[in-house]
């Protein structure tokens, strides 16, 4: 992988496309390592530093945490699969668990409201929605959460 311009002057990065497939047991101790692997690849495609240090790590941590603790009910033997598809325009992350799925909109609450701000929980989906450009949830051989983030310079 290189950022060296080709003969036509087009940065080689523009045509790069990276796809990653990861699978982990349902154990929150794996989360940090998965985030490291994904953000390392994204940073090589010259995304904005804040997208690499804030948006992606926090949103991916939330999705993995939900998949492990809620979707897979913290049962270690159940797997979580992560698909990462990144090019110079956008990152698409899919986190797949073995649960029955959930209604994203129905589960979303406003943790900044006066009655919720002192609660310990309830900020995960909110942060995913705020930090990513798009968050979707659907079922396809497992419960899938798909998050999309467009690259900023």
């Amino acid at each position: 992988m290189s950022s060296r311009p080709d003969r036509g002057g087009t940065p080689l990065l523009d045509s790069l496309h990276v796809a990653l497939e990861l699978e982990i047991p349902s154990d929150v101790r794996y989360i940090e390592r998965v985030v490291e692997v994904v953000t390392h690849q994204v940073s090589r495609l010259a995304y904005h530093p804040r997208q690499v240090t804030l948006n992606l790590p926090v949103a991916l941590t939330e999705a993995l945490s939900n998949a492990i603790l809620r979707g897979n009910a913290d049962v270690t033997q159940r797997c979580v699969r992560i698909h990462c598809d990144v090019n110079r325009e956008r990152v698409i992350l899919e986190v797949v668990d073995e649960g029955s799925g959930f209604d994203l909109l129905a589960c979303m609450q406003d943790p900044t409201s006066p009655e919720n701000i002192v609660r310990e929980d309830g900020r995960g989906l909110f942060l995913m929605a705020r930090l990513m450009d798009r968050v979707e949830s659907f079922t396809n051989h497992g419960n899938v959460v798909r998050m999309t983030l467009h690259r900023h310079d």
């Binding site: 989360i31 940090e32 804030l54 941590t61 900044t112 929980d121 995960g124 942060l127």
Partner: protein, 110 residues
């Protein structure tokens, strides 16, 4: 990731090195609660060595703040980088905590 604790006058200072996320938040919570149990009342959590915080980490800070206040104590935060400030602003937790730019200023403010 690690949580180093030291006493500075009457204030217990906790340095969060690395991430504060779902996999380690309980460790931070227990360490601070142990000190609260021993009678400590003034706590400063310093984030100068922190990467990112997830919703579980934010939740633990909210929970600790509540428990410390119930015992007549206070929890303050210092040295949030721009990413962490954004997280606190998005969740409006910047309105719930007393946040100071530097550790020194935070220690003086108790």
């Amino acid at each position: 990731m690690s949580f180093a604790m030291q006493k500075n006058g009457e204030v217990v200072v906790v340095d969060v090195a690395g991430q504060l996320i779902v996999g380690n938040r309980q460790e931070l919570k227990q360490k601070v609660l142990d000190e609260l149990e021993k009678g400590e009342r003034k706590f400063l959590i310093d984030f100068s060595q922190t990467g990112y915080i997830d919703s579980s980490g934010l939740g633990v800070l909210v929970s600790l703040s509540k428990k410390i206040r119930e015992q007549g104590g206070e929890l303050r935060l210092s040295n949030l980088n721009d990413d962490l400030k954004t997280l606190f602003e998005l969740t409006k937790l910047d309105t719930l905590f007393q946040i100071t730019d530097t550790r020194e200023r935070a220690l003086q403010s108790f």
